[in-house]
Each structure stands twice: as C-alpha cells, then as structure tokens.
Symmetry: C2
Subunit: 303 residues, 2 copies
C-alpha cells in the first residue's frame, strides 16, 4: 500500500508554527502581520476561498485588511485601491482573488501589486527571482509541494522528477524549485508524445495536468512518489449512500496506484491544504522582511 | 556525416536583415537605434568582446553610446551613469560588460538598468516575462539557439529536448524557450545521476555544461541534433603546423559524433556568433517598442 502524504496535518502544523513565530516576534515588529484579500464581484466559489483564507488568518494572528468590492469597479479605481494598499504600512501582503469580472484585466492588476507585498509569488519580478534562485515570495502550490516533500523526507538530490503541466501558477515554478533542489527535471505537457514513456522514468511525478484521472498504473514506475495537484468534482449517475451526486478526484487514478507508488497525495487533503498554508507563510515572510526581523522563518522555508 | 549548423552565416544574414529594418524604419522613428556598452576596467578579453559588439553596431547602423570607465568608479557613481542612460532618449539598450572589478556588485548594477533597455535579457523582470511567456528582451545565447534551430528547420513540437546546465544565462532560459516551442524538456546538470541514460533520450541535446568535451558518442542517440554552447581554449604539448600551442573546443567531442548526430554546431562558428546577433536584435526590438514602430522584427523573432 502506498503511503498517503497528509497535507491537512502538515498545513495545520505550519499554521501552529507561524502562530508561534508571530507571537514571538510581534513585540519587536510593533504590529502583527497584515494580509489584504481583495474579492471583486460575487463569484460564489471565490467567496468560499476568501472566507477560508480569512479564517486561517484569524486562527494564527494575521490581521485582515480585505475588501469586498463591487463588480462594477473600474480598472482605474481598482488600481487606486491597490496603490493605497501598497502604501499602507500595516499591510504586508496583498492577494487578488481570481477570477475577476471580465471588465478587469488580471495581468495589469497583479503587476500593480508591489513585488514586496506579493502574497502568492505571481508577480513577474518574483517569478524572475525564482528563476535566478533569489529569495522572494514563492508561488503557493509548488512551494507547498516542496514543503510536503521535505517534511516527508522524500529525497530530491539526483532524483528524476517529472512535472506534467506547464502553467505559470504550478508547472513552471514547480520544475524550477525541484531543479534547485538538485533533481533532474523533465517538463511534460499536452504536446508531449508517448507520455507514459516519460512518466515511467520518474522517481517523483508531479501531476498538474488539469485532467481528471489522467494518470494511472501504466504511467508510474514501482515505488515512485506521486503528487496530485488536480481537483475535480465529477458527477455520478447514482446517488451514493451519503446522498451525494458527485465525488472529488484528482488528475491521478489513485486506486490504480495503491500497489505501485511508494507514496501519494490524496485528493482532497493532499496538496490543497498546503496552498493556504503557503499563502500565510508568504505573508509572515514579507512581514519579517518589512519589519527587518532576523529570518523568522529560516527553519521552515528553503526552496 | 552530421550536418554542420552554420552560426556564422546565419548571424551575418541576421545583421543584413537588421540593417534593412533599421534603414526602412529610421525615418519614421526619427533616429537610429542606440546601444550603450559599458566597459569598466581593463580586462583584456572584455576589450575584445566590446570591440566586436561595437563593430557590429557600426556595420548595421546602430549608434554607439558606450563608455570605457575607470575600475576605480564607485557603486554610487556607476548607478548614476546607468540612471542617466535610462533617461537618455537616444539609448534603447544598455549592456554592462562582465566581469566587473571586484569592488562592484554586478547584481545591483544589472537590476538598475531599466527593463525596457535591457540589452541581454538578464533583468529579473525580463526573466519573469520569459517564464510567463510574455514579450521582452530575451537572453542572447538561448534565443540565438532558438533562431538557429528554426532557421535550420529542426522540428521542436513534441520532440524530447535535453538541456545540460542550469545557469541563469543559458540553461534555465533555454529550457523555458524549448518548452514554449512545445518540446518536452529535461533539465540535467552536475547532480544528474547516470547522465548518458538521460541524454540518450534526446532528439535535441543542448550542452551548456562548461566542461571541455564532456559529451561523446555514448551520450547521444542516432540522428540527434546536438547544440554545443561551450567554448574552451585547450593547451597542447606539441606545436601544430600553424604554430599554435592551443586549440578551441566545445563541451562536445564533435569528432565522435560525426557519424551519430544528424546535425551539430561547430566550435567556433556555431552558437557563438549568434549571441552578438541576438544582442543587436534585442537593441532593434527595444528601439521598435520605444519608437512605437509596428513590429519591425515580427518575421525574425518568435520565441
């Protein structure tokens, strides 16, 4: 049986660690860390995500400076909101909850956020810092995976890692992070020919393909570690015992891998919870930098 | 016999193309493109490189705004020089010739150059743009290789490319450019275990390892395309017919590959000449953007 990597437990441990770090340094800093979550319009899924992030802030002592903004706001008005948050000394990190209403260009707004207040490592300058191996806020999903791998003592040095998917959000930063940990990294994607011949060489396989249960037994070599970034709600014809008409699954057919992989992340409860934990980590890290604290997170983050 | 990819000829064709583009658009732009090459101190190799770049500018009609600066200049003075060049409307691209005297931090000075006047695509913001697939000045050596591959009609779509080396200058941008051309890309490096088992899977092998003749017959599969980024001057015991006590070689033992590879780049005359051609290309592209010309290089650059 494959070992199930528990992202929920690790995320909760990271929250406890961050809460202790905030507690310990708050006096010297003169204030708690501050995160602004900007929600524009009434996308219901965004509402749930924003609420989860705000609750997590509350649990660990990050002060919230969010705003729920009407979908009718203009680009100029929205830029003004971001600029004043860039100037606000109490705000260490700004998160623009996507998707935006179609009238607003996410690229322009994301670039308007000060790179030093970037909450999710998506500012172009911070992606460049990642490429150069310089410190900076890191994309939350891949950095969460790096912490999951490290915490579960999965060796990366000299190992062959294969990343499926090449998004700016996950695939590309993931490949660079694995490489900087001295793995040999192959980047596969929708144009890859004979995918299984590529993935079967992976000691570590990260699947961020966005395709339900794309990866099965024939793609994975014995004892590989498989990280599943996908999350999909799939409808089912018959209503299950608990009355549900759908179920959650990832990009990996995990049933097929139980007897093949040495370890895998479940969906839900694997990669997902780590993303919020890394958003909080970026916020606390930005706070440490802005208040010139002495590496409060040195023991946690190293990628 | 492997086909020898001629970088010298293509570089010369690109110069002719750029000269024609400058000629055609100069009236509308109101001025020729301008490149500033900053040479600090008296490193003799740098002298040769700078002179080559300046001669190339002269050949195609780029005006030169270079300066040869004393090695005793302070960081503050040097930042002042760069800031006034950032403001100078006649300068479209600024190149800081490396290495610098030990008293000057290259990182600080490179970041001081305006990203829109970056001559060699090394500004952190431009590396981020590369990662995101957004337009911007690109690193000259990997972009030169992309043009070499395209010009020689070497297909990349769905092909397996292996890049050896992970520098910010070559390896990492190379991998991202090959990926954006829809190749499946493996990034290998000094920590890669069993290198030949990785490289033998390459349809296209780019070697930027910095190690003379590292790659030989056993690393390459039949009919692979091999791109050699290395250039090394190797001393020899006996004086050759032409009186030389050394010879030039790359990271690849090209003699061993003549009967195996389908194509390879010679050293010298392969990748090297393309680097200067792409510096000129970046300069003309920045000029086009700054003078709001309508994509004068659309037909040349697509990576």
């Amino acid at each position: 049986m494959a070992f199930h990597i528990n992202g929920r437990r690790l995320a909760s441990e990271i929250e406890q660690h961050l809460a202790a770090v905030i507690q310990r340094h708050q006096n010297r800093a003169g204030r708690p860390p501050g995160l602004a979550v900007l929600r524009i319009g009434d996308d219901p899924a965004s509402g749930v995500y924003v609420s989860n992030k705000e609750k997590a802030c509350e649990r660990i002592g990050i002060s919230r400076h969010g705003a729920h903004i009407s979908k009718d706001i203009t680009l100029e008005e929205m830029l003004h909101v971001i600029h004043s948050m860039n100037e606000d000394p109490l705000i260490d990190a700004i998160l623009l909850q996507l998707p935006l209403p179609p009238s607003l260009d996410p690229g322009i707004l994301l670039e308007a956020i000060s790179p030093e207040k970037d909450a999710d490592g998506l500012h172009t300058l911070n992606l460049g810092r990642l490429l150069k191996g310089e410190p900076g806020p890191r994309s939350c999903t891949p950095s969460g995976i790096m912490v999951l791998l490290a915490n579960n003592k999965i060796p990366l040095e000299g190992q062959h890692a294969v990343v499926i998917g090449r998004s700016t959000l996950v695939g590309k930063p993931m490949a660079l992070m694995l490489q900087s940990a001295n793995a040999t990294v192959t980047m596969a994607h929708s144009h890859t020919i004979d995918l299984s011949s590529i993935t079967r060489r992976a000691d570590i396989l990260v699947v961020a393909a966005g395709s339900p249960q794309l990866i099965g037994a024939r793609h994975v070599k014995p004892n590989a570690v498989v990280i599943d970034v996908g999350i999909h709600r799939v409808p089912i014809d018959e209503i299950t015992e608990n009355g549900s008409k759908s179920y959650l699954c990832g990009d990996v057919n995990s049933n097929e891998l139980e007897e093949i992989a040495s370890a895998l992340t479940p969906v839900p409860g694997g990669v997902g919870p780590m993303t919020v934990a890394m958003l909080l980590t970026n916020t606390v890290m930005n706070w440490g930098n802005r208040c010139t604290l002495d590496n409060p997170l040195e023991d946690l983050v190293s990628f």
